[in-house]
């Protein structure tokens, strides 16, 4: 299926089936078939390695934002030595504009559970944790219910389906910190510590949770796995953009008529997403800007969007990224200075404070932006902001400093006239 006929796409993650969160309904609709096949069909899946190879072949690029091939990541795990190994599923989605995993927790938790179980089997993992942000209280409860149902049906626990493979599955609730969505600080948080990102190397595959080999995957990434097992890597690769294949959950929010989470192939044109999928601009206003993949991805002006599709290659040509495909659509009435201040406020509030450039830089960015927003800024402040972004970028342990710096740099570069207009008129006027 190419990108062009996305209209005929049949959703697999969130199909329109009533009560799919119910394990009986899920099983009736072909659920846990992939897991059973992987565990028992020794002709098709000779060993765990074969599962990894298939997933690697499908090129499921991590849906948490970094876009790394999931199967390849799985293959980094060292050989099993009989000691504990962990799969940590990252459901801490907290980036402004991103709300796709919540849809999976709510509508189809079992497709994620099945995917996680397949991943665990493929990497010979003994324990799975799913880390869900604390604000998702109701979804934490739903996940707990779903996991306990799957235990009851014998899909999790000792000797799953008589295959001899055993695994445990736990839900862990976050406590409201964005930084715990960073994979290594999520591990710290799982260990009961303060959510500080770890210095890499050592990478989690070598020394992760409690010093043991650990793989960390996004919820949506794992949810794609059952379909890849059922329908094959070729099917998955045939969907959407070649370099970033497969279906994606687009979370569209902002000034559109029908905001929400839509499952479509990757590489759908941004303008199609706004006008056809999300029902067009609210109140018939004009489009001003789009943040394509969560608040950290560089903002795009409306005039940059022609022919741009939602995949990493196409977005790179206009200087942005796919991120988590959480699109924020803004109409002509939007105050860009206010938007940027709000984003900077978020990163200031969420910086863990471990590394100097991020701890001090995020606060400084916000304070200058507040000054500009209040009309007290000067044009030189804009250049200071741009300078600060280079002082922060690439100089910290995790990518939060980058995530805080990019929006500032690109928003100022792409909307500089609006910022200058807010600044005080120069006092160095020649009369």
């Amino acid at each position: 299926m190419s990108t062009a006929d996305w209209k005929n796409y049949e959703p697999v993650l969130i199909p329109d089936i009533k009560d799919l969160h119910n394990i009986d309904v899920y099983i009736k609709n072909g659920g846990y078939k992939a897991l059973t096949s992987v565990l028992k069909d020794k002709e098709k899946w000779a060993d765990p390695k074969s599962v990894i190879n298939e997933v690697k072949e499908a090129n499921i690029r991590g849906r948490g934002g970094a876009g790394f091939n999931a199967g390849l990541k799985w293959s980094f795990m060292p050989p099993a030595d009989g000691n504990p190994r962990y799969l940590a599923c990252n459901g801490d989605e907290s980036e402004p504009g991103t709300f796709k995993d919540r849809k999976i927790f709510e509508y189809n938790p079992h497709v994620f559970i099945e995917g996680a179980l397949i991943a665990a089997y493929a990497m010979e993992i003994t324990t799975i944790y799913v880390y869900i942000r604390g604000e998702y209280r109701i979804y934490i409860q739903m996940m707990e219910k779903a996991i306990s149902d799957a235990y009851d049906k014998g899909y999790i626990g000792k000797n799953i389906q008589g295959s001899g493979y055993s695994v445990d599955f736990y839900v862990h609730s976050g406590a409201g910190a964005y930084i715990c969505g960073e994979e290594t600080s999520m591990l710290e948080s799982l260990e009961g510590k303060r959510g500080y990102p770890r210095v890499k190397p050592p990478f989690p595959a070598q020394k992760g949770l409690w010093g043991r080999p650990t793989t960390i995957n996004n919820i949506e990434t794992l949810a794609h796995v059952p379909a890849v097992i059922n329908r094959g890597a070729a099917w998955f690769k045939g969907i959407g953009a070649a370099s970033h294949p497969g279906p994606i959950l687009y979370g569209i929010s902002g000034h559109v008529n029908k905001p929400g989470v839509y499952e479509l192939p990757s590489g759908v044109p941004i303008l199609d997403l706004i006008h056809d999928v999300a029902g067009g601009m609210r109140n018939g206003k004009k489009l001003k800007a789009v943040i394509p993949g969560g608040s950290s991805t560089p903002i795009l002006r409306a005039d940059q969007l022609d022919g741009i599709t939602m995949d990493s290659d196409s977005l790179r040509t206009v200087g942005s990224m796919l991120g988590t495909a959480g699109m924020v659509v803004m109409d002509e009435d939007t105050d860009i200075v206010d938007v940027l201040w709000r984003i900077a406020h978020f990163y200031h509030h969420e910086s863990c404070g471990q590394c100097t450039p991020c701890r001090e830089g995020t606060g400084w960015l916000e304070k200058i932006l507040l000054k500009i927003k209040n009309g007290d800024g000067e044009v030189k402040d804009l250049d200071l902001l741009l300078d600060l972004t280079t002082q922060m970028e690439g100089r910290t342990i995790c990518a939060l400093a980058d995530a805080a710096a990019w929006p500032v740099r690109f928003t100022i570069n792409r909307f500089r006239d609006e910022f200058e207009e807010r600044c005080k008129k120069s006092v160095h006027a020649f009369i």
């Binding site: 910190a177 930084i179 303060r194 210095v199 200031h348 509030h349 969420e350 910086s351 863990c352 404070g353 471990q354 590394c355 100097t356 450039p357 701890r359 001090e360 830089g361 995020t362 606060g363 400084w364 304070k367 200058i368 000054k371 200071l384 002082q391 690439g394 100089r395 910290t396 342990i397």
Partner: protein, 577 residues
Amino acid sequence: MPEVIIDGKSYKYEGQHKLLQFIQDLGKEVPFFCYHPSMSIPANCRQCMVKVGQYIVDRESGKHELDDKGNKVIRWFPKLQTACNIDIADGMVVHTQETDELVRRAQKDNLELILINHPLDCPICDQAGECPLQIQTYKYGPEGSRFEVKKVHKPKRIQLGPRVVLDAERCINCTRCTRFTQEISKTHQLTITRRGDKNYPTTAPGTEFNDPYSLNTVDICPVGALTSADFRFKARVWEMNQTPGIDITNGKGCNIDLWTRDNIVLRITPRFNMDVNDHWMPDAGREAYKIFNENRISRPLQKLDGEQILSSWNNAVATFIEQIDNTENKNILVIGSPHASVEENYSLAKFSNLMGLNQPVFVPHLKEGAGDGFLITDDQAPNTVGCRLLGFTELDQKALKKEVVKASLVILLSDHLLDRNVLTHKDLDGKFLITLATNHSETTKRADLVIPVTTAAEHAASYVNVDGRIQRTFRAKETKYTNRRLDMEMSEGRLDRYGTNFDNWVTEDNKIDCLPVWRFISEAAGSKGLDLVLSDGREIMDEISSTHNPFKGVSYQLMDEQAGILLINDSKEKTNA
């Protein structure tokens, strides 16, 4: 042998090294704050940024790839790297701030960021003068700041525990203190609270930072965020003399520095010794600075009609000799001390020997269960092993009492036996007690003759710790009879060097009227016409090393070179500390 190229120079190395430590070991410098050689590496201050790359080598031919001009091509890491946590590797090319503009800029940027929320209150900050942030800002920091908005405000003057005060605004969140309580003292009492630029270290609610090693966090704090409640605002560091010494409050013999100003010891900090105390010392040892200043005995004391009065040295020597002469040798008991140095004990023993008195006895000062297996020992005295190696008779309380009953004259060296409850007043009834002591106590109050002697801060002498390691002290403060300017071994601070005796920051009162034990013994022996002249610790040690087998080969020079000498290798001989 593998090699790394740092700033264009090639260095061979063996084994595994972290780049920052390797550069430091070469005597070069890269600025840093959070790194500490004895703790884990968090790489969070981001100050030690350097540019790291690798020569591109053709795998098959093993030859370096060359550019048009014939220079070796380097593949640089895409980002600057923190030197503290990167392992050096063969063929690694490193550019530090000395050769690379980008690195210089990155370090300057980082310092600008560190300083934006720092209060910059150096003029009233205790850390000023010994502050890595201050020093490195002068060296590598920006000329000014572009920060024109409001700084973050955080709690100030928080009494974290009995000995440590926190100023959260000065904190740069290097986490050295929290890592110290997690990794070294293992009390886990400190943690970072809040998030982002509101971060600061603190204890759990309702608990206090009473770690027995808490003051080490003050030493390792790279800014003035953690200060010592006791030392706060007492002195500027540049006014003080720093003199090496040994902790005499327990058996471990932690290496310390004594900080003095106008002959008053103002604080004690640990001095690095890998084989003894690393960079650390217990808080109790630091509080011992008071014993060098307060409650000191100055001028001999003699009992007249049941009351102690100030006497003179001539009188004291005369009385000392008179008492010995008037008592039968078998009725005299000479008691050495684990609290006194090897040289002091030796002098007493030599005198005792020449006079035909008993080989000194001693009572170890142990407190069962006080030790923690780290730097605090059961042994409360610094030189128990030294007494043993000198061949002194080790007695317990019962045995000592038996000996005391037989004696009518007791000569006691620097040991407060009444205060320690080893002896009671009743035991000493009707006996003449001569004590050579440093500080007033119950014991000296009872004594019929008190000879004031020098402390570990006033003489150079050696102590053997519980592990059998002999280490020595240096003269840190003057007595009435020493002169800093004439003594090559005494350190001179600014005030000493540039002042005169008439300056208002110099007081004669702080000099104690006391003598080293060996000087007093020599005086006493001289008046008896004995051939016994002991002039200073260095010579006494040379004498001991030639006469006492366990001390063979020991000299001050060797002790200084090797930071102490291990005298016994057999662990069985160590005390049960």
